[in-house]
């Protein structure tokens, strides 16, 4: 079964601080994604990747960077966190050529 693990599960950060959200998948999927979930907006795509070394901008990339150092790992980086980035973040993986996404359990981030 698909396994996508996110860490940390909960994070409190200060405004202006740096935050790194990590995601690991053991499915050997090429594609990985970072979404954020906010009430009324559903899931919005921040960054995604087609494989190690690649990152692409999603629909709302401003204020975020991404890093894909290996097939298994995909990180989301907030260099200067702002309160507007308070949200629940979901990582997902998917096989190239297939559309099903497998999501991690989510990271709840509060920026104070």
């Amino acid at each position: 079964e698909a396994a996508v693990t996110q860490s940390p599960r909960n994070k409190v950060a200060v405004t202006g601080g740096k935050v790194t959200l990590s995601c690991n998948q053991t499915n050997n999927h090429n594609n990985m994604y970072w979404y954020r979930q906010d009430t009324g907006h559903g899931l919005r795509l921040i960054h995604y990747s087609y494989g190690a070394g690649s990152t692409e901008k999603g629909d709302i990339p401003d204020g975020y960077k991404a890093s894909r150092p290996s097939q298994e790992n995909f990180s989301l980086i907030l260099e200067l966190a702002t309160p507007s980035q308070t949200s629940v973040y979901f990582c997902a993986s998917g096989d190239a050529g297939r559309n099903t996404l497998y999501f991690g359990a989510g990271t709840r981030l509060s920026v104070l």
Binding site: G42, L43, L45, Y48, R98, N99
Partner: protein, 113 residues
């Protein structure tokens, strides 16, 4: 504007009734359509999906209807159960642009016993 829109943020149905969830999209190039289910404090999981070469797909109590000319698709859940209570997220993608799903804002379905 939102590329994928669920106009009803919430829906309440009596147990045993039919739940109808609607989704509208803007991108003519979408050729894959999906419904994900999300329980509180859980991750979304795929419920059912359909490609653009069909206009209907059934799976047990679930049926997806696709109206490409109207840029609309819907999920019908028959014999709704209290355990169907969840948030339902519709999504679409253009496979020629990579498997990048665009989600709607979600509809919270409550099935009353």
């Amino acid at each position: 504007g939102q590329q994928v829109k669920q106009s009803s943020p919430s829906l309440t149905v009596q147990e045993g009734g039919i739940s109808i969830l609607n989704c509208d999209y803007e991108n003519d190039m979408f050729d894959y359509f999906a419904w994900y289910k999300k329980y509180p404090d859980n991750s979304p999981t795929l419920l059912i999906s359909v490609r653009s070469n069909v206009d209907k797909r059934e799976d047990g109590r679930l049926t997806v209807f696709l109206n490409k000319s109207g840029k609309h698709f819907s999920l019908h859940i028959t014999a709704s159960q209290p355990e169907d209570t969840a948030v339902y997220l519709c999504a679409g993608s253009n496979n020629n642009a990579g498997a990048k799903l665009t989600f709607g804002g979600g509809t919270r379905l409550t099935v009353r016993p």
